[in-house]
Amino acid sequence: MIKQHVFVWDPTPSNSSAVYNYLVKKVNERDLGESIEVYRSTYIGLTSGTPIIRILPKNIIYTKFEQEDLGEIFESIVSDEVVDRFICEYDAKLAPVSERDKQSKQFKIVLRNVGYLDPESIEEYISRGGYKALEKAIFEMDPDRVIKEIKDSGLRGRGGGGFSTGLKWELTRKEPGAEKFVICNADEGDPGAYMDRAVLEGDPHTIVEGMAIGAYAVGCKEGFIYVRAEYPLAIERLEKAISDAKKYGLLGDNILGSEFSFNLELRWGAGAFVCGEETALMASIEGKRGNPKPRPPFPSQSGLWKKPSFINNVETWANIPPIVEKGSGWFSSIGVGRSKGTKVFAVTGKVKDPGLIEVPMGTTFREIVYDLCGGILDNKKFKAVQTGGPSGGVIPEKFIDMSVDYETLMSIGSMMGSGGLIVMDQSDCMVDVNKFYLQFSVDESCGKCAPCRIGGKQLLDLISKITDGKGDKKDIQKIKNISNAMQKASLCALGQTTPNPVLSAMHYFEEEYMEHISDKKCRTGKCSNLVQYMIIPEKCIGCTACALKCPVKCISGEKKKPHIIDQKFCIKCGECFNACKFNAIVRG
């Protein structure tokens, strides 16, 4: 009998999964370790509130089962049968590996192995062609050739900036000095983005291999992965990947018997968003407060411990082995214009089917939102999508058919960012969303430079004033002036990009902003100070549903007679509005 590989995905990101534990226990009890192997998977291609089991090689996917059904599922695995009632329909997101599937519109390069192999097994990674690229680089290519290949591929940094990866490598290689450092930025702090986590937890060896190739090309002996402490499973798996790679002679001294030696270590982040900025990240690896430094000197000249250094993020590193293996021509044939290859997006917010997708550059927002993620939740109307998180901007409906690539996004006032796509529907208030991002940026400002520290706070105060109903038309100009100063004078990208969401929302949703300022109205009801709930006496039948729901008991009235809301005590929570089945409560 063929060995069955059982992947368990559990929504719980911690290390314990009742489903996984149960299956492992059963396998051990029955001594079936020879024929069944159970893994904890971190990404299966689906997102669900309940655990998912995937069984390879048959590729059977079970969802929506209860703990007590596990016995039956286990028996079916043992007897190689299928339990029909838990079977999950083939989902658009489960595209075959590394192959363009016309129907699904996905193309997997970065996520090629994620969910298809045991992330803790180096043997499996090797059996799927892993470390072949490293071998090819060391024995068939000289460092300059590797750099040329990466440059020609057109790969650009996937962390947000979009700087040419090959060029960055070349600049660092050209610097004099024997000691240079290679760094992986795995401090994924952008709210709403979790693609790096999927790669780190699902395919850690690809990062190790990519970094070893980078180190070979640039001439580094030492490297660091700066990983978020909030991702304990990623840390555990990276540690195992590094130690296994050492055992196999793929890291350490004289890799694969060659002259090339390279050591890789982990350093943990500690919850500071600014540490995603490269100079701040290097300060943090050095064990200091993560304050950014002015440039020049650039990290390629004087980076970690003042030595030439270069940083790429997780997704960029995951692209390296396939490019080296298949060549720059293959990679540059994917994508559009100056944006080559694919991009992984974490689509969240008001979509039916949130999750990770990997698509070729140039795919449109419509394809992403409607074809891959099932459209808007509750069939509401699409309003906007936010890209680039707190540094990016909103994209209104009129651009929904625009191609998603670096240049197009820049031209409409947003940016690629790390790949978080937050979809908003008509019930989301743009001013309120701006307030959220500003709060985030103000909280995360390191405080070193004045434009970011003071400007961010002033912007937040102005926006809060508007959402409180105290906005003035003059505030718009003030916001623009402060934003301009921040963009020009802040020390690092955090401060320079803090105003972006506000500026883009003010541009594309000017009407909504003006409504808040002039009419003191919020059409979505999100800005509670601008909202008043009222009962229309003609429609109210006196069912008391609203009075029962009201948390402050400010709705009064006799049964079967129209009720009244006491505005003095109303906290504008909207519970009554949601409770009324007769549309008798209006929001104004």
Binding site: G49, G192, Y194, R267, A270, G271, G287, I422, F436
Partner: protein
Amino acid sequence: MKTQKDVQLDTRLLDFIEEWKDKKGKEIMILHKVQEVYGFVPRAVAIEVSRMIDLPLAKIYGIITFYHIFKLKKPGKFKVSVCMGTACYLKGGNDLIAELESILGIGVNAVTEDGKFSIEIVRCVGCCGLAPVILVNGKTYGNLKKGDLPNILNEYREEPKN
């Protein structure tokens, strides 16, 4: 000023410091270990660590106060972390905080009188598909509504209040 008593550091921490003492960029890693062992960074321990790795106490506090993860106060026995990533925010993370505050009678970053619960806000925990999300001592609860919270908290209460 209160004088600090000498403390005997936990052996797990001592071993870790020994291993990391000569490595580059050890400071944050050692503080992570302190927090793992004690749940927060007690002042007495910080003083001892400062002496052992020969780093001024002010630098150590500079690091602790810069990074969100390090805590100077002891958290509750059950740490309730509310995710305020964008997806959770849009789907009502704020309401969850307000409800928790009213159930537990404490604000964010505070501990209940019996030391059992504390509330904190965390950045995106990376499961936006389940928004809004809270974690209780690392265990995730997703797709939450306000009404789900009392039951979740009751799981951790030995005897119900009131």
